[in-house]
């Protein structure tokens, strides 16, 4: 470290006044925040502008406020967007339910139950997290085609009940490991079986991780575009994402207002969840390295 001080240039050695650094940091962060949020704010504000004002001004505050674009967009396709939102909602809620049930069961087996092959299956489960879904995509599709499930929501929902999102198992395993074993042992002494311990001890103590898994699995399913694109053909069965994409084609960019209005609506649920569960989401990412 002595040698470190010796090589310092005078510039480096001079400590900047704290107030100035602070002011600079704030300025940088504020500018950055503006850049980050501008596209989103622009999308929202443009959706309330009359069509001819969207491109004439970059201003975020509409001169004339109108919800007309929402009316045009809502009924812009042969099926109302409301219907597609309902489809998305049903699929996302079922995905949440499926993930919570199947992943918590698997995580419970991996952390609390003694059975032959436990370590082997656990290693395989971790392995599946690494395998890109493209490797299994086509045979899965052919299988669902055989079952007559294509153009139904089953291929989007049933896999969630079979713990396909191994990531959530991993997340719950981490959490369950932190629950003191003394609790199960005490319950075991009182004659409780594995089922009772799962429902009466593990699950009630796991609400934080269950909530994290629920919110993320809702958002990911809501956002998902690839699976609905492959499996859903009829416009009555479309999710909001598919509807929006069809709308891009249909309007051929002639009605930007309506397109931006519907875009705003598809992002709205995610935004609401973000506002409600911000802490939970950020902690989820920070502690597990969850991506997105």
């Amino acid at each position: 470290m002595t040698d470190a001080t010796a090589t310092l240039s005078p510039m480096e050695a001079a400590t900047q006044p704290k107030g100035l650094t602070r002011a600079f940091a704030y300025a940088a962060l504020l500018a950055m925040s503006f850049v980050m949020l501008y596209p989103l704010l622009w999308m929202i504000s443009s959706s309330f502008k009359p069509e001819n004002q969207i491109f004439s001004t970059g201003s975020l505050i509409p001169e004339t406020f109108t919800a007309d674009a929402y009316r045009r967009g809502w009924n812009g396709l042969s099926v109302s967007f409301g219907w597609m939102f309902l489809n998305s909602l049903v699929i996302s809620v079922l995905a949440v339910v499926g993930n919570l049930i199947s992943c918590s069961m698997a995580a419970y087996a991996f952390t609390r139950l003694q059975f032959k092959g436990r370590k082997f299956w656990f290693a395989l489960m971790l392995g599946t997290m690494m395998l890109p879904q493209h490797a299994v995509l086509i045979p899965q599709y052919l299988m669902f085609l055989n079952f007559g499930w294509v153009n139904t929501i089953l291929p989007l929902v049933v896999p969630k009940f079979l713990a396909i999102d191994a990531f959530f198992i991993f997340l719950m395993v981490q959490f369950f490991r932190g629950i003191p074993r003394e609790l199960d042992e005490a319950a075991l002494m009182d004659g409780a079986g594995p089922l009772r311990i799962f429902f009466r001890i593990i699950l009630p103590l796991s609400t934080p991780v269950l909530a994290t898994a629920a919110v993320f699995s809702f958002i990911w399913t809501w956002d998902d575009f690839f699976a609905p694109l492959i499996y859903l053909n009829d416009i009555e069965k479309y999710t909001a994402q598919l509807g929006l994409r069809t709308f891009v084609d249909a309007t051929a960019q002639s009605d930007w207002g309506a397109l931006l209005a519907m875009s705003t609506l598809t992002v709205l649920p995610i935004f609401l969840l973000f506002v409600m569960f911000q802490r939970l989401l950020i902690e989820g990412v920070a502690t597990t390295g969850m991506k997105r």
Binding site: L8, M143, V285
Partner: protein, 307 residues
């Protein structure tokens, strides 16, 4: 008394069996899923990758034919590789740099940390649904936000970035970089782990802020950088939706946004070449596995683990 003895003898067996039953009972949804949705399909797609199959007739064995065609003849594969590697090699480092720089700035104990953190995280939470791709299409369109800024600030009339094959891919890189938030949060968590007294000791020794960053922060953060880099790289190879929406599913203009997964999708679900698409899928798996292996191998030389 004989009754008691048999009970005594049977109890452990029954409870052991019960343990096995409970274990496999709770694991059964995952087990069924593993065999039906992962293991079975993986084996089956390996087989399909060695065949010619289009739903019209049963799979016809072609051996390594598909792989040979991919490696030697297919120009669109080459285009897809070009686009995908450009995307990965640009978006991942840029995202890491942004995420790290902002995290370091936020870690200075400024007020309003929670607000800034939330604002920067929002774009990456929203992720890549269609709405964002639609928005991006507008942002970089000929009359979009970027060109409006260029016009009013520099008086420069910008092109349509998305319609131009030379620039289209960079709009997608910009989209990826805009979503640096989750990496930033992981960096912030990592920065908190660095003991404060290391900085105190260093400043007593007269080390400047810059030097402290390169000698303390950066080395101690290498495990987190490594983790982020690996995850971001894997994700970048799998990117799909933005390219699909921006190019109307074509990968255009002139295949300039033909992401690997988009090409795979076209071969499988537009051209119904299931055998060839399966081979493409396994090539992607191999590339991702190769990249991951390379990262882990290189980690020995630059990732600092305190033991």
């Amino acid at each position: 008394m004989a009754v008691d003895e048999t009970l005594h003898y049977r109890a452990p067996v029954w409870s052991r069996l019960r343990g096995q039953l409970a274990g496999y009972g709770f694991l059964s949804p995952w087990l069924i899923g593993f065999f039906a949705l992962t293991f079975g399909p993986a084996v089956s797609s390996l087989y399909l990758s060695l065949t010619d199959y289009s739903l019209m007739s049963s799979p016809r064995w072609v051996g390594a034919g598909n792989y040979v065609q991919i490696a030697q003849v297919d120009p669109r594969f080459r285009a897809a590789m070009n686009v995908t590697f450009t995307y990965v090699l640009l978006s991942v480092p840029l995202k890491l740099i942004f995420a790290l720089a902002i995290a370091v700035l936020l870690n200075k104990g400024l007020k309003g940390l929670n607000w800034f953190r939330a604002i920067f995280y929002l774009p990456s939470l929203i992720g890549g649904p269609v709405a964002i791709a639609v928005l991006w299409r507008q942002v970089f369109a000929s009359d979009g936000i970027i060109n409006q800024v260029l016009m009013s600030v520099f008086g420069y009339e910008g092109p349509s970035w998305i319609a131009n094959p030379d620039t289209a891919i960079y709009t997608l890189v910009a989209l990826a970089v805009w979503q640096f938030g989750s990496s930033m949060i992981i960096f912030l968590a990592g920065l908190r782990q660095i003991p404060q007294d290391m900085y105190e000791a260093a400043s007593i020794d007269g080390a400047s802020r810059t030097r402290q960053f390169f000698k303390i922060t950066l080395p101690l953060l290498t495990p987190v950088i490594f983790f982020n880099a690996v995850i971001l790289t894997i994700d970048a190879f799998k990117a799909f939706t933005p390219a699909f929406v921006i190019s109307d599913g074509s990968g255009g203009p002139i295949d300039s946004t033909l992401f690997y997964t988009l090409y795979l999708y076209q071969e499988a679900f537009m051209n119904f070449r299931f055998g060839y698409a399966s081979a493409l899928a396994w090539v992607l798996v191999a590339i991702i596995a190769g990249f991951t292996a390379l990262s882990f191998f290189s980690a020995k030389y630059w990732v600092h683990y305190d033991d």
